[in-house]
């Protein structure tokens, strides 16, 4: 049978698979852990919340669901969705299925901002703000340097500039870590840089949701133009798309969602690379279906990984380590199969 038959191109089965993964992720995340909760108790608590009754479960169960796991679960879903959506946008924009949100220095800029915040013992909001500003400044710098270099391949210049600026920012992060108090600050920085949702609280949710929702909404609104933007530059322009301004809008939206997720959860690599591929395999490359599918799938994916991170060992495993363990072989598999279609 031929691969990619018209049937598998329909979006409904793919979306269903993504939704099932998210639902399984949600159920596991709420029930599994140091304090196991039965599915029946979970349903009772949820139903009681909806109907406004008092559930017949121990107080501890309720507080684990609403205070402990609830914020963390929501944060995981949003961070995963954000990274996946940003990765989808960057891969389309750079016509390269091997790029990810780290490519324009967004992640490393946000990381530098955050470690500076930790170094000066700022509060959580200031740290988040600095991470966000760092990400935007890094992308603006990459973009300006990239457009100063006159080249017939502006995309390649932009990617290379991103790598170079990212390396410089990485050195900055190294310097701050070197100067940091090795007993208090350094462990906090290291843990945060490796990616973690263990500190996610209700207060983190709104500053995360706002930028992620805004950036994703912009990208979904531009879905058809993003299809055209994945063609070679000259072709897109000949089809009537003003590629310059549109690229700035897409990059800004993708950076916004990346920075917000880095500010909340630190550096979680590979999600933005792996999930867009899985989503493309489910619904095909049309951004109208791809962006929502990637968002749902990314949420479920990171939720499953976060559940793994807090249950698989006595101590929590940093998320960035788990995503790298899955992402690196995936990347190598993609590289070795370059001849196959990016479908």
């Amino acid at each position: 049978m031929r691969k990619n038959s018209p049937l598998s191109r329909s979006s409904l089965p793919g979306l269903t698979v993504a939704a099932i993964i998210l639902i399984v992720g949600l159920l596991l995340a709420f029930t599994v852990g140091r304090y196991p909760i039965s599915l029946t108790d979970l349903m009772q608590v949820l139903l009681a919340k909806l109907t406004g009754h008092q559930p017949h479960v121990p107080q501890a169960v309720e507080s684990v669901i609403w205070q402990v796991r609830g914020p963390r679960v929501l944060a995981a879903v949003m961070v995963g969705a954000a990274l996946a959506v940003a990765g989808t946008a960057f891969q389309g924009l750079f016509r390269n299925p091997l790029v990810s949100p780290d490519i324009l220095g967004a992640s490393s800029g946000a990381a530098l901002g955050a470690v500076i915040g930790i170094f000066f013992s700022f509060g959580i909001f200031a740290i988040q703000g600095l991470a966000f500003i760092g990400g935007l400044i890094a992308v603006a710098a990459v973009y300006m340097i990239g457009s100063m270099v006159r080249s017939r391949d502006p995309i390649l210049v932009l990617v290379l500039t991103g790598v170079v600026v990212g390396a410089l920012l990485g050195a900055g992060v190294g310097l701050v870590k070197y100067l940091a108090d090795p007993y208090n600050q350094l462990p906090a920085m290291t843990f945060w840089l490796l990616g973690s949702l263990s500190a996610a609280s209700t207060a983190d949710l709104l500053p995360l949701f706002g930028p992620v929702a805004l950036g994703t909404a912009i990208l979904i609104a531009l879905r058809w133009r993003m299809n055209v933007m994945s063609l070679p530059e000259e072709e897109a322009r000949a089809l009537g798309v003003a590629t310059g301004p549109l690229r700035i809008i897409i990059v800004a939206a993708a950076t916004l969602v990346t920075s917000a997720s880095v500010a909340t959860a630190g550096i979680i690599g590979w999600v933005g690379l792996v999930v867009p591929h899985l989503a493309r395999a489910l619904v095909g490359p049309d951004f109208a279906r791809l962006v929502p599918t990637a968002a749902i799938l990314g949420g479920g994916y990171l939720l499953l990984i976060d559940t793994l991170a807090r249950t698989v060992a006595q101590v929590e495993i940093p998320l960035g380590i788990l995503t790298a363990v899955i992402g690196t072989p995936f990347f190598i598999w993609l590289l070795t199969g370059v001849q196959r279609n990016w479908s």
Binding site: N4, S230, E234, A238, V241, R280, S343
Partner: protein, 261 residues
């Protein structure tokens, strides 16, 4: 309508490819652009499309400078068929052709039912309606060329500019694409294409424009411009002419290496 370049200096920021070029073509006619590699064919093509700026001189559509049209207005008048490429993502053939409708929508719009009708007609016209749900990455080179032609037609332009439309095609598909180019002009479009084969110009074009080292060597009706002497000047290489009993002319590159008979 008339698309013309007046005393154009063409090239890239670092170097000039050609200068003093006057070229024009009108709706309803086919102009073939011939010349050796590196002679400036593609640069001239992209300058006329507004994809690279002329270093001097002006490109005009109906007397109005190209710069006065927005990028979207331009795309509704002139369509571009690039050399066949594979593409990065496995869009369906229908989606690729629908992209030709982009200039008829706004920033946020999705293709409408009308856009889908235009797309279906374009696919049917080139006999590739049955491919509409196939991934563009999995069809043959000849089919891809027809898909890109259908996309240009879906743009509903006045002019179509093609960069070596026969370069990667087998013999049969070359003939098919030539016939389609002819048919586009008959239906009222102005067509400009580059080619390495003077016979393709004879088959499909009304006029030929001979470009060498960024300068025009000759221009005029194919029957007058395309002859042994001109082609040998153009390519600095020997050319043989073949004429059959019916008077059909064809050119062979190089000299006979196998004795006739």
């Amino acid at each position: 309508m008339r698309l013309e370049g007046q005393s154009l200096t063409i090239g890239y920021p670092a170097h000039v490819v050609g200068h003093g070029i006057d070229v024009a073509f009108e709706t309803g006619e086919v102009l073939a652009l011939l010349g050796p590699n590196g002679g400036g064919k593609t640069t001239l093509l992209k300058t006329l499309l507004g994809l690279i700026d002329a270093k001097a001189g002006t490109v005009r559509i109906d007397g109005k400078p190209l710069g006065d049209y927005s990028i979207q207005e331009r795309a509704r008048i002139v369509a571009y068929v690039p050399q066949v490429h594979v593409g990065t993502f496995a869009f369906t053939v229908e989606t690729v052709v629908l992209m030709g409708r982009t200039a008829h929508g706004n920033m946020l719009s999705r293709p409408s039912d009308h856009d889908r009708e235009v797309t279906a007609r374009a696919l049917a016209r080139f006999g590739i309606a049955h491919l509409s749900q196939r991934p563009y990455t999995q069809i043959s080179g000849g089919e891809r060329q027809l898909v890109l032609l259908a996309r240009a037609l879906a743009q509903e332009p006045q002019f179509i500019v093609l960069d070596e439309p026969t370069a990667s095609l087998d013999f049969g598909n070359q003939g098919k694409v030539m016939a389609e180019i002819r048919a586009l002009a008959v239906s009222g479009l102005g067509v400009l294409f580059t080619t390495h084969d003077p016979n393709h110009a004879l088959r499909a074009a009304d006029r030929a424009f001979l470009l060498r080292d960024g300068t025009r060597i000759a221009e005029g009706p194919v029957g007058q411009v395309l002859n042994k002497a001109q082609l040998e000047t153009l390519y600095r290489a020997p050319v043989d002419t073949v004429i059959d009993a019916a008077g059909n002319v064809a050119f062979l590159p190089g000299q006979a290496v196998i004795p006739a008979g």
